[in-house]
Amino acid sequence: MKEKTLALAIVILITTSVAGVVYAHWTGQIQIRVTAHIGSLTIRFINPLKWSDNEATKDVGHINCYYTQPDPTEGYKKLIIEISNAYPNYAAHCNFTLKNIGTAISTIVNVTISDPNGELKWKWTTKYTKGFLWKDFNKNNAYNPGEEIIYITITDLVNLEFEPRQVEKAQIEAQITENAEECHSYGLEVSIAYES
């Protein structure tokens, strides 16, 4: 009887081990690998970049435009405009190029212009395209005619949709008014905000 019990135990053991092997042979794994590439939202300045002014006969005022802060992927993050020896009615314009180097559709939602030095204030005459930086000469905290310093005209970019790899050309023009002071340095900053 004892032997019978032992034999049964051995048989069960062998059976279960065989069954285990069989089970192991008949199972597998299926994997679903998902790689999620998050869309990137990046508009950059790219070449060509050109500039000129309104001087026909004499070369008095000067303008220089260049890009800084290169993006490792493509293009640049910042456009610098330098105007020197300007005088009333001197106008200089800079033709720059924008490219959506990201993978998502981007839309320009706002353009703001300001003076980083805080000396001048901004006023739009035509929203997002034309306006002027003015100086509060009479210190009344309000714009009065005769206080315009630099007229700015910029290509209308707001609500412009950029498909990935889309390139758009734009222009910014600065014109010095007769109210500008001699031997003076004025600053301006244009911020182009975009979103997806």
Partner: protein, 204 residues
Amino acid sequence: MKTNKTLVLFVALIIATSIIGITYTHWTASLNITGTAETGKQKIEIKCYRCGTFNWPCCTKRSTVTCILSEDKQTLNVEWENVRPLSKLWIVLVIENTGTIPVDVETPNITFNPEKMQNYFKVYTIFFGPFNSLPHILHDENSDPPDCWNLCKPPKLPVQLDPGQKLVMAICIKFIATCCTFHRLQGTTAEITTTLNYYQWNLP
């Protein structure tokens, strides 16, 4: 129970708004254009000058002249003493565009104080130039003005002066009062002001 529900709702709202905030931040960006505009300088200065008088050789009492340039080089003050009939004063000065933008120099404006004195003086002005380097001016105060006075063809006004360029301006003032008038005017003073206006070269 009600308090717990409110708390859960509040926490859920905070989490939701923070997630929205993070998402929004990730999906907006901006590009920047930075500009500087430096304006030039519009200025003309008197660089040098010579003054002299012309008197008839027979005159024993000669008129004399003293010229002093103001510190800002914008005004030449001339004291012409002992003016007598037929006395002549000449002033030659070099003006230079010391600014950074071209200017147009206009015809000078001459005024008299008192106004009636304009009947007794005759003022001539003439310009030479523009020159790129400083022209030589004779330094003999007893001589006539430079020969060029009558020989050179003066430029038409307004004269355009580029930065660094010079213009020679010569002024001759003659006292034309007769002897009778001179006796009547003795001891009086006349102020003659010659103003040279200039403006940006490309103004309409």
